[in-house]
Symmetry: C2
DNA sequence: GCAAAAGTGTTGTGATTACACCCATGC
DNA sequence: GCATGGGTGTAATCACAACACTTTTGC
């Protein structure tokens, strides 16, 4: 039996993957952009990404392009949305966009050439529809921080409650009550207190580590 | 200036759109499947869908294939996920999957040939990875019903609180307290009481209509 | 001692739950 | 009348926010 394509394999549609990578730095949310070296939009800043190879899964493409940018594995990676409007590029391109979180220390360790990290509130003009894509990724991030534990994805293995609170505050853009914040996260069962403290200023703060028995976010029946 | 494709236009990857269409019938969630008329998986049941035309937006393709199945416009339509694993089809196919809600009366009015509606708890074996896709769509539906008003998408323009409660109960798979349910939805501001009542058995029940000033679900910065 | 962050205690408020109870209709 | 679903009332509970207060460090 033969397989009969209904459209020719050359359908005029190409498939790309881009990734919105978030990290945290000095209480700000930052993301890496690459400068385009060819048309269209040569010279403009764009999200890191690449074409999907016929023998490579979408997730793998996202991981690969992410590694090529930050040099290391993310602490969280999730598909965001498929953008495929006709006018978003001179040729017809469907972009499967992912979003990722990388820890602050990981991001700092692997700075690359022609990659620059920008504060999300001070982004330059972006190529294609990437401004809209970043807006949507930010919306998802702010939403998801309210009902999951993804904020931990920004932090190194050991951290204080003030560190974690700072992450929440920079994502949500508002101050949180330290006392109530402490109780909320203590009751969530996602943190394991250690016997170590961070000293240096004022009263030492206890260091916590993440309880890896609980997922950063519920993903439903999708394979992880 | 010339555009230089990095991969040839014939990348060996084709782009399709499929849609998981939900409706409600006798307290059960049902969805339409089409029988495949060619290989691969000839004769098996599959989600309605089609190839993306180079001149057609993804949303438009979803609406079109949905119309070809149910014959009418959905009350809710949202992108679900892009499935693109290597092994999911003999050829490399990236499927942008949407999910939709259609009102019970709309679904009943437009029954089509070679389309059959199945109870989601009694699905046959499906082609490709469509079983997994339906599982994920159901998970999203059950989640979203908890924090949005999409359940209204199943109902005709006028309905009783018992109708609405039945929708919630069939989605969530559990009974809800009628008294508390009433207060919750009355306080949500999404319902407008009418002066009409449904009679026929016991005490007549007031008919409500949906307040179209509030969206069925918050979609963030994505264009609707 | 003093400032400041770490950490604890207390109180009020609003949403949710469980359930008792009344109302209006068909039979 | 009586069974049944429509609709109201109410008290207990819980999560959360606001804020006063104590503890422990650096200087």
């Amino acid at each position: 039996m033969t397989i009969t394509p209904i459209t020719p394999a050359d359908s005029g549609i190409r498939v790309a993957v881009s990734t919105v990578i978030f990290s945290q730095r000095d209480g700000r949310i930052v993301l890496p952009l690459v400068r385009r070296t060819r048309d269209p939009h040569e010279g403009q800043w764009a999200l890191p990404g690449g074409w999907v190879d016929a023998a490579e899964n979408l997730d793998a493409t996202a991981s690969r392009t992410l590694a090529e940018t930050t040099g290391l594995a993310p602490s969280y990676l999730e598909q965001l949305y498929a953008f495929g409007d006709i006018g978003r590029s001179p040729e017809r391109v469907v972009s499967i966009v992912y979003w990722a979180l990388v820890r602050e220390d990981v991001a700092r360790a692997a700075e690359q050439h022609n990659v620059e990290w920008f504060d999300v509130s001070e982004l330059p003009e972006l190529a294609f529809d990437h401004t809209q894509i970043v807006d949507y990724a930010l919306w998802r991030l702010r939403n998801k921080v309210g009902y999951s534990r993804i904020a931990h994805g920004f932090l190194p293995s050991h951290f204080t409650l003030a560190d974690l609170r700072e992450v929440y505050e920079s994502i949500l853009g508002k101050r949180l009550d330290p006392a109530n914040f402490r109780r909320q996260v203590e009751n969530s069962g996602t943190l394991i207190p250690t016997d170590d403290f961070r000293t240096g200023s004022h009263r030492p703060a206890r260091l916590y580590r993440y309880n890896h028995d609980v997922e950063l976010a519920e993903r439903g029946p999708l394979p992880h």
